[in-house]
Subunit: 353 residues, 2 copies
């Protein structure tokens, strides 16, 4: 062990005052409690010289606040997306002098319970419950004893917890608008879900439902109707490949709205198989802004999931919860929607004449 941490008592001793006085000065309440300028200076000087830093564990025991928040997600590692959420949360927390505990449940309710316990045992000041893919989740009981926020998730049952989610409806609108802006009116097909409002994959994906709503709304407003669509059970490249191949056997699309970038990757392959060029023959727009989107040739225009911003926002919302005097815990939690910016790249062109 190093030469032992410097404690408040050490500071008090070198300043020649009592620990009480030292504490008062260092917590900024010295003026208020009539500590003289002289003593104040001595304490400050001693603290600086000794490089005193309060022991947060001790403060935590006494005051109950540990300047720590718990971040529990269903999956951290599956994609870089979660990493960005964590990063956003991390930075927002750090700016306030807070640290993050992280935990991963892998969808296991028992593990979730254990993690929540472990965090409560460490007296976290608040908890962020994050989902990798936007979806509704069952809010575990025992979360509400502490300020908490749902991140990228909505409560399955009514709950007072606030949520932070991407604005998927607006994202759908943006994708559709991008095609309309390029002049597309016909031959617009959807890959992954649609064309009907109900044509969504099972599993309660919020993204599928809301993106579809936004797309249909903008198209309808422009008097355009999607020429067709394929629901994909899962949104992996192979499904995009299969669905697009299927489509190309019978139809000749002018534009594809793929429900995520991985589907679009498969769609590119299928288009290539049929000798169709992106974007000259077929325009493609997708969602997520996964790293592959900028590796694909031509680079894919896509509506980005703002993971970093979601993480930051969750911390912001959590802090307003912490700040609040938790009287008003009745009612439904607010839902905060974070904008999804469109990344215009090379996969959209005006329809060939």
């Amino acid at each position: 062990m190093s030469p032992r941490r410097v404690t408040l008592a050490d500071v008090a001793r070198t300043a020649g005052v009592s620990p009480t006085t030292a504490s008062l000065v260092l917590s900024g309440r010295g003026r208020e409690l009539r500590i003289s300028q002289d003593v104040e200076q001595r304490v400050l000087k001693a603290a600086a010289e000794l490089q005193y830093r309060p022991n947060i564990v001790s403060v935590g025991l006494r005051t109950g606040t540990t300047r720590t928040i718990g971040f529990i997600s269903d999956t951290v590692a599956t994609s870089r997306l979660a990493g960005d959420m964590i990063k956003g949360a991390l930075e927002a927390a750090r700016e306030r002098g807070f640290m993050l505990f992280i935990g991963e449940t892998e969808g296991d309710a028992e593990l979730e319970r254990l993690l929540l316990q472990a965090m409560h045992d460490r007296q976290v000041d608040g908890i962020i419950l994050a989902a990798m893919f936007t979806r509704t989740i069952r809010v575990p009981k025992g979360v509400t004893v502490t300020p908490a926020v749902l991140l990228n998730a909505l409560p399955k049952q009514p709950s007072p917890l606030p949520s932070v989610i991407p604005d998927e409806v607006e994202a759908g609108r943006a994708a559709a608008r991008a095609l309309l802006d390029a002049g597309h009116r016909e031959g617009i097909y959807l890959i992954g879900a649609g064309p009907g409002r109900r044509n969504v994959p099972a599993g309660g994906s919020v993204a599928a439902v809301e993106r579809l709503v936004g797309i249909r709304e903008v198209l309808a407003d422009a008097g355009v109707k999607p020429a067709g669509g394929r629901v994909c059970r899962d949104w992996q490249p192979e499904h995009g490949l299969a669905a697009t191949r299927e489509l190309l056997k019978k139809e000749r699309p002018r534009a594809l709205i793929c429900f995520n970038d991985r589907l679009a990757l498969g769609a590119y392959q299928a288009l290539d198989d049929f000798g169709l060029k992106v974007p000259a023959d077929v325009s493609v727009v997708a969602f997520d802004d996964h790293p592959i989107a900028s590796w694909m040739r031509p680079r894919l225009t896509t509506v980005a999931l703002p993971h970093y911003e979601l993480g930051r926002k969750a911390v912001d919302v959590l802090f307003t919860q912490i700040g609040r005097d938790r009287e008003d815990d009745g009612g439904e939690g607010e839902v905060h929607r974070v904008p999804m910016p469109i990344r215009l790249r090379e996969s959209i062109a005006p329809p060939a004449a």
Copy 2:
């Protein structure tokens, strides 16, 4: 706030004993200190009924151990790779009842200092210093006051800290062996580094150096010499594309060893441009097992970076450090090498006759 946490005093009261006795029983030292069976049972029963859980903050203050470890990396979010490392560390820690603080320095030494401070202030029991890309790092002073481990990194200056890194040399051997096993002897080109021992990109990438060593060793042992190689300044798809195009203008390779999967993605594109088929015309093997490796067509054979295992191993090593009585802190830190498994997929075939 919930109905207040149950404390040891509560347990003692309902069991009708002193807090001391309750503490003794619950810490398992009851037998040793001659607490009667009867009392022991009463305490246990009371604890179970009240669902008592010790307040770790309090224990931390008294004993100095918080069942918490700090995980500081240069980048969390840039790739899913870090996510897997964190996941491995997370699970290994959880199995021992430990939680993880995470922090991200983004290469900023000042931020690193602040994070280390923040973690020390919270009395972490140990620290993992992780790098995203295997490399040598300057060990910040002040780390050694606590048990610590370098993850995916080697100390730049001599240091007593142990390191956990992927076994890149063996990975290089495995990649070369895979080609030899398929019957390749000629026209083997390296993309990203090589062919000479010194032909590595600037920046001190451990991966470049060690993979190259392993590749050259196995090839040399088989009496084979690489037909050529291209150093790529950065290992992104566009560099792989450019380097491979350059190569194909003059040469007709039979096999490519790409120094990572993203280079291989570019190489695939270049090969396609020249009308060459993988693996019929050219076999390709790479490193990392990035998610794209299994999305590429044909699916890429690659030597996997064992991020998950690296994370686990770092925690294991850290615990032996924590367990140790830190007398023997002289000498160099041990280096633990984690095997990199090869993922055989579809991108290697015997050379055409």
